[in-house]
Symmetry: C2
Subunit: 219 residues, 2 copies
């Protein structure tokens, strides 16, 4: 098999199990157990662990072993803070290159996002598709990759959160406004809408996470 690229079946299955919360958070994971779980030897498990650690899905647990790092509101806050600055930046570079065809595709994705029966994971994936489509036009591979990494990190946090209908409507309205501003080549407006949009999403998530830790961590 073409094994351990981000595309290895073990890597994918492992990551999905982390995302879906099917593995314990904060406790050390044993290589042997993981090998049994996925029906392979420890070597490919080690390879996958290395990669997932580098991507932030796993963290060192003491001197030995790895764990799924617990959710941390401050971490989420930082991720959204960075997105607030980097995404308007890449959007600026993207706008001059956006074709009518791409804008049409973006419009299509927006319509799919109107479906309020989507679960948080599906919604998150579609949402990223929309933004990614716009950002890729900037033709800035390294900048794009960093932003994609930030989204990947954020993806670990959403999916727990059940979004209110009210928030979903606001978010969608902003998406439409953003696309309109882009069509008008009004870069300044587009940037400010996007920054606001990310800021709100961040606040929503951080508030949710802080609520969680308040109810859970009772000494």
């Amino acid at each position: 098999m073409s094994a351990n690229q981000p595309g290895s079946s073990l890597y994918k299955a492992f990551k999905q199990d982390i995302q879906a919360g099917r593995l314990p958070v904060g406790t050390p994971l044993k290589q042997t157990e993981l090998a049994q779980r996925y029906g392979v030897s420890r070597i490919p498990v080690r390879d996958a662990i290395k990669q997932l650690m580098a991507e932030g899905w796993l963290a060192q647990h003491g001197k030995r072993g790895v764990m799924i790092p617990p959710l941390d509101p401050t971490e989420a806050e930082d991720l959204y803070l960075m997105r607030m600055y980097l995404e308007p930046l890449i959007l600026t570079h993207a706008i001059p290159h956006l074709s009518h065809q791409t804008l049409g595709q973006a419009q299509d994705l927006l319509q799919q996002l109107d479906d309020t029966t989507l679960d948080p994971h599906q919604h998150g994936a579609l949402n990223w598709s929309f933004h990614a489509l716009l950002y890729q036009a900037a033709q800035r591979p390294v900048l794009y990759q960093t932003i994609a990494d930030l989204h990947r990190q954020c993806a670990r946090y959403i999916g727990y959160q059940s979004l209110t209908l009210d928030y979903l409507h606001t978010s969608q309205a902003e998406h439409h406004d953003l696309l309109d501003a882009i069509r008008d080549k009004n870069t300044r407006l587009a940037k400010s809408i996007l920054k606001q949009h990310i800021s709100e999403a961040g606040e929503q998530l951080v508030a949710y996470l802080r609520g969680l830790s308040d109810t859970v961590a009772q000494p």
Copy 2:
């Protein structure tokens, strides 16, 4: 052995060999050859490769094998662009927390940077120590880590570049101005100096890299 944390001797030796240009750029590296070079089996070599790939020191070469990615001016440009936005951001968060002691340490580092006999690697390391000292005070681990990663990526590019004495003087003057602004708690000024400082460093590097590819790539 405590093997493959970023601290494994193999990982360190391997990365240093890449940084120092002791391994061929752009051609596939054979696991067997690397294993022989470092006197170990292929397993730890594979572990190190995984990690270095995730950190950007190595890249996929076609379907099989890895290579040291060639230097790319556009990539460097993106890295500095991101730093221009993220470093002033973290500095803003850091300034309220900076103690007199930390500012004193920063002053010390600045004096060491006056030494113009340093080679590019030493200079780069000291320069990062100075900035890192300030940034850590922000107590924003995730934001800090991302910025540190960007610097690590940049480190692959500098070290080839021989900095002009003129640039070194300008750069040091900016460092002093920055520290003064921070002492005055003049956040606005500090941010603008820092952004300018990074912008100049980026332009210097990108110009150098473009010069390189112009002279090398003759069909």
